[in-house]
Amino acid sequence: MTAKLQAATTVPVGVVAAMGGVVRRDLQASFRQPQDLLNPLLFFMMVVTLFPLGVSPEESFLRQSGSGILWVAALLSTLLSLDHLFRHDFDNGTLEQLVLQPQPLYLLVLAKTLAHWLVTGLPLVLLAPVLAVMLHLEGNSIAILCLTLLIGTPVLSFIGSVGAALTLGLRSGGVLLSLLIIPLYIPVLIFGTGTVAAAAGGASVGAYLALMGAFLVLSVTLAPFASAAALRISLSNS
């Protein structure tokens, strides 16, 4: 038995297999804690509800600001869910094991953030069209909006992972995380809503989408470096 275990633990695991393992494990863990999956979605819907009730239920207002409302709500709800990204693993010690793995931490963090987007960002994108119809957006705008959210929410997850890693284990982590990350989210928000506004104005959206694609590529490739460094700092601190 021990010999078998020994053998199992010393089998070298490829980088891709390790990343796949991290994604699978994180997805499994989230589906076993469905409230973590649901809370950001509920929050997303409730924030969107606040605007027609708080500002104006006028169709013309909602049509004009609907994409902005959905983007802001998606941003806030991502922010809210970021605290969970490393927190559980930090509390139960899994994170330390992750740092000790022979595979580069950069790639493991990338896999973790990807899993985080799959359980928080992707559902937002899928729910957005329903809320967009409730905000009286038109068909073409809805399609563009969902496309920008599809490109933009992973950017939010990846940038946010840096903040989540930096504030790990701090007492006032949640508020601090928002303070650090919101400034970095602003450009994504501007171009995300800018794309929809350009489409509604009849302009071409190619340039906007290309810029958002650039954000995505840069954040996926660079943010895990910073997150991995930040994780090492936070773990050495605890």
Binding site: V162, L170, L180, P183, P187, S234, N237
Partner: protein, 249 residues
């Protein structure tokens, strides 16, 4: 080898403390003289602008503070690299003691910009690219200050802040080039290294004096604040104790 010895020496808090003590009067003196000359010349004697009249004179405060607000962040970013790569304590002392000064300068640039915007654009604030990215810079400074204070452990705090500063660097080129890339309300840069300024010499000379003066005063403030930071961090070392005893405190 000598470079490494120099590097080691420069990284020593005591060495820096002594150098700073010697630099402080010079930086303060020349900085004050240049800034005051620039301001008095610019505010009282420089010619009026043919379009904006006297209201353009705020440029002598607005441009130096905006200039410095951005370069302080770049200096902090360079210090952050030093913190992460060579783990030099002094670099972190610089980042953490000067972040509030950077925030203050950014606020000053935004405030004077608002005061200038009212008579020329007819509004205190517009959401244009330059103004928004300066506001983001202010938020970034605040984030650096808040994160630095939230982490009690000195070493972790230094490295975490350094990572945050480096991530925020993406904003600097956006601020710098926002007025060139986007056709916005804000006018293009006043000074460039390659072209002659579009202003007459009676206007840009006092402006240059106040920019240089403010840089020198910033250097003075850096020395003073870093000295304080060093005293706080090194208060257990023998040289600090000896210093405090010799001052008769």
């Amino acid at each position: 080898m000598s470079m490494w010895r120099w590097f080691h020496k420069f990284g020593s808090p005591k060495w820096f403390f002594d150098i700073a003590s010697r630099l402080i009067p010079w930086l303060l003196g020349t900085g004050l003289v240049l800034l005051l000359t620039g301001l008095v010349w610019g505010l009282a004697f420089a010619p009026q602008d043919y379009l904006q009249g006297n209201s353009y004179r705020i440029i002598f405060i607005h441009v130096p503070s905006a200039f410095l607000a951005q370069s302080v962040y770049l200096m902090m970013a360079s210090a952050a690299v030093v913190t992460l790569v060579w783990k030099m304590k002094l670099a972190d002392v610089f980042v953490q003691t000067m972040a509030p000064v950077g925030a203050l300068l950014t606020f000053l640039a935004l405030f004077t910009g608002a005061v200038w915007g009212k008579p020329t654009w007819g509004t205190w604030w517009v959401w244009d690219a330059r103004l928004t990215s300066m506001l983001i810079l202010l938020f970034l400074y605040c984030g650096v200050i808040v994160l630095g204070r939230a982490i009690a452990d000195e070493k972790s705090s230094a490295r975490a802040v350094a990572v945050l500063v480096l991530v925020g660097v993406v904003n600097i080129p956006i601020i710098k080039y926002s007025v060139d890339w986007w056709n916005t309300l804000h006018q293009p840069a006043t000074f460039t290294l390659t072209k002659r300024p579009s202003m007459p010499v009676e206007m840009w000379a006092p402006l240059l004096l106040s920019v240089v003066g403010l840089y020198l005063l910033f250097g003075w403030l850096t020395c003073v604040r870093m000295q304080t930071g060093i005293l706080v961090r090194e208060h257990r070392t023998s040289w600090v104790r000896a210093l405090v005893r010799s001052q008769g405190v």
